[in-house]
Amino acid sequence: MKIRIKFSKYGTMKYIGHLDMMRFFQKAIRRAGIDVKYSEGFSPHQIMSFAAPLGIGMESKGEYMDIEVCSMTSTQDMKEALARVMVEGVDIISVSVLPDNAKNAMASVAAASYLLQRKEGDYPVNDLAEKLQAFLALEAIPYTKETKKSVVELNLKEGIYELAADGSNAIRMMVNASSSGNIKPGMVMEAFCSFAGVEIPAGSYQIIKLETYTENAHKFVPLDAV
């Protein structure tokens, strides 16, 4: 049976990287006594798939992980059993059973929404809401992505689905998070900064992932609504 677990990550847990979160959950699942399914072979491991890695320093209210179990009583029992073995900074939000033919969490991801919350004061931008609108109305939003190996010219425009101010100290956005066209919120912020002619250091706002979406009949729906 395939199970999808939705959880949040916040507080000091934002310093725990993706691989360590996987290790954390592997141990938590054992502590919770969940009858998880293991792979075959000489060193079997729990069958587990994370929707998308969350960068160190980011918080989330919409992280997803799929596991397979051999047996279970109810999703409610499993949610409670997991909740009992968590630490401060990770909450189990929901546990749901997936249809057997469901794609795994990682392959399902299409988009993600984020809140970029100023840590102190307002964003140093007058008319933040209008500026964001004007930015999103551009015909193209060029962005140069530099990696260790290459420099790629991207157009972010088609991957930004929503972008709006949330008061004067927060920005909301929904962007492409699929494996082929993933856009990091920091990239959007950088492009916006050069558009608006302002400087907003990456450390001055907290990125909170609000939800992870999959595409269903041409609509974005949360991963646990499959």
Partner: protein, 622 residues
């Protein structure tokens, strides 16, 4: 919500911020208002090393099981954070409360190896505690040292308020009670220390003075107060089945060296290898009851969620209930997909059978520790392993499908000759030859066998029969390593043998600290001031700086390492009573020089002195 001592900016800037945030599963957070004593327990090395140490987990769970005590963990900040903390004057903090160590009542530092000595100073320095015990004010934490290096605490005596000699389970309650009583009575730091010096196992170095002869050797000790003990006897848990054990050990977020449940099956060792300090200071052997261990295993796997369990002891093959314990673990763990990580077992039919059940034969390797290349030298060091036993074990293993063998030897052992060194290559070669004789050509995996021969340099340690032995110079060590390499290259099967050797510089320094006295402290202090830190990490070890510091401080390395010591020389550690007597050690030293072996504790009691503890394997046990 949990706070962090370090700002977000710093945490996102340093390598592995998880080292510094606490919040791990099973870590203990109490309300500071509810406790009478706050104890910072430190392993002076990086988090991943320190978190792998069983002793701290034992004491952590013991302290926190007491309602009035809150024990927190402290590890050495890695070099990146070290720089930031110094620049920004951020005080070192406990992981649980994230509050400064200097606000706590005690700072306990475990001393597991000599090469951590500069890290002790880093901890004190970053904690903003004066480095010298005598310069600490009333409001500073009491700094306690514990662990194996306290069996010669003199080189670091200046930095500690007191040392706890022996196993921590027995006297800490009394020590903390006295601390609280003294505080309630308005007593001073000095009052506390004077009272503490009366508690068994507790040594307060500032109350004693070391006196020297003109030739630099020790003349004796003078104590400041009449009531102080002349001898400090080690503390020991007489019944290890009825004591504290961390059934809910802290589970780190990041991968640490020992990322598994650890079952300590026994303390002490029956073997009596003459180079081995652990084999003497942890006497007598005390086994933990197998039923208790089974229960611990189940509970700890449940409370941690670890996917692996391992056994801990000095010589697991000597544990009398090993068979029953392993059978239980294989059954229990197999169902739950838990790996069993086996300690180095004596290679025989039984252990090979067990290994086959729990490891991938193709991927695992076998370990033999002959320690010396010839039977003559193995007799000198009282290592009861014969060539016949090794070759028989190797043949059995090769038949079972193993193709990788690791061999451990020491260079520079007392009485060592060129022949003994040659023996290392010859034994390695014979093992390779055994493979080709045992395994027919068509059954050889990859067609070959892989022998990895490693040598370390022998360092004489206090409370061993070799505490009298001169140590080699760096040049002698390197020449011996060269001879070993040459000896291996001459062998017929040399292509199957890979040779590794340990660095010589750091061994010399370890030799000084191991048998050093109080005059060595100023060198450690000076080296720390000149930037020495993390000396056990080869990439940070600065040999040139150390050598210069010895010179500038006027301390002669050779006096502590290569010098011949007479039978009746007073050693810096002679005031400690670890059970094993000096007469026994001297007897063993003479037998070593004559090449005579001694039976182990199981075979025949040698009257080492540990019988006075009246427990464990000793005939005196009730």
């Amino acid at each position: 919500m949990r706070k962090t001592a370090l700002s977000e900016e710093i945490l996102l800037q340093v390598e592995k911020p998880a080292r510094y945030i606490g919040n791990e599963v099973n870590s203990v957070v109490k309300d500071r208002e509810d406790v009478a004593v706050r104890f910072a327990m430190c392993f002076p090395d990086v988090y991943e090393i320190g978190m792998s140490h069983l002793g701290i987990q034992i004491l952590y769970s013991m302290f926190n099981s007491w309602e009035d005590v809150w024990c927190e963990r402290v590890y050495s900040p890695w070099t990146d954070l070290d720089q930031i903390m110094r620049k920004q004057h951020i005080p070192l903090f406990g992981l649980e409360s994230q509050e400064p160590v200097k606000e706590m009542d005690f700072l306990g530092i475990t001393l597991q190896y000599e090469m951590c000595y500069t890290n002790i100073l880093q901890i004190l320095d970053l904690a903003q505690i004066p480095l010298l015990a005598t310069e600490r004010g009333e409001d500073m934490p009491i700094v306690i040292g514990g662990g194996p290096c306290t069996y010669n605490p003199e080189p670091i005596a200046d930095f500690f308020d007191l040392f706890y000699i022996g196993e921590g389970e027995t006297q800490y309650r009394r020590l903390l009670d006295w601390y609280v009583e003294n505080r309630e009575n308005g007593g001073s730091r000095q009052d506390f220390l004077r009272g503490a010096a009366q508690i068994p196992g507790i040594y307060v170095p500032q109350f004693y003075e070391e006196l020297y002869h003109e030739d630099g050797t020790i003349e004796g000790r003078r104590k400041l107060y009449e009531e102080l003990p002349d001898v400090v006897r080690k503390e020991i848990v007489t019944d290890v089945s009825d004591t504290y054990y961390p059934l809910r050990p802290v589970v780190p977020f990041i991968k640490v060296t020992q990322d598994r449940v650890v079952l300590e099956i026994q303390r002490g060792c029956i073997r009596g290898c003459r180079f081995c300090q652990a084999g003497q200071i942890y006497r007598p052997v005390r086994e933990r009851h197998v039923d208790i261990l089974k229960r611990y295993a189940v509970e700890m796997l449940q409370s941690t969620g670890h996917e692996e369990i391992s056994l801990s002891s000095l010589s697991s093959s000597d544990y009398s209930q090993l068979n029953e314990l392993l059978e239980f673990l294989i059954e229990e763990c197999g169902q739950k997909h838990i790996n069993i990580s086996l300690p180095s077992l004596r290679i025989d039919a039984f252990s090979l059978d067990v290994m086959r059940k729990v490891q991938d034969v193709k991927k695992s390797s076998l370990t033999f520790a002959p320690e010396a290349g010839s039977q003559r030298l193995r007799d000198v060091i009282n290592k009861g392993l014969t060539e016949e036993v090794i070759l028989r074990g190797a043949a059995l293993a090769f038949e079972g499908g193993w193709t990788r063998v690791k061999l451990y030897f020491m260079l520079g052992l007392p009485t060592e000759t060129e022949e003994d060194i040659k023996g290392i290559g010859e034994l390695s070669n014979k093992i390779a030859a055994t493979f080709f004789e045992t395994v027919p050509k068509d059954k050889r995996v990859n067609g070959k066998v892989q022998i990895v021969t490693s040598t370390s340099f022998f360092i004489p340690k206090p409370f061993t029969p070799f505490q009298w032995a001169p140590m080699c110079t760096k040049e002698e060590f390197l020449e011996k390593a060269y001879q070993t390499k040459k000896g291996i290259m001459e062998q017929l099967n040399q292509k199957s043998i890979k040779y590794n050797w340990h660095e010589a510089d750091v061994s010399v320094l370890e030799g000084v600290f191991a048998r050093g006295d109080r005059r060595v402290a100023k060198v450690i202090l000076e080296a720390y001031r000149r930037g020495c830190l993390f000396d056990s990490w080869s990439e940070y070890y600065k040999n040139d700086v150390w050598i210069q510091c010895f010179e500038d401080c006027g301390v002669d390395i050779g006096f502590y390492t290569t010098r011949e010591r007479s039978d009746d020389e007073i050693f810096p550690w002679d005031f400690i009573d670890c059970g094993v007597t000096r007469q026994f050690l001297l007897r063993e030293w003479k037998k070593a020089q004559a090449g005579v072996v001694s039976p182990n504790c199981q075979e025949q009691c040698q009257g080492c002195g540990a019988g006075t503890f009246e427990c464990g394997i000793c005939p005196t046990a009730s």
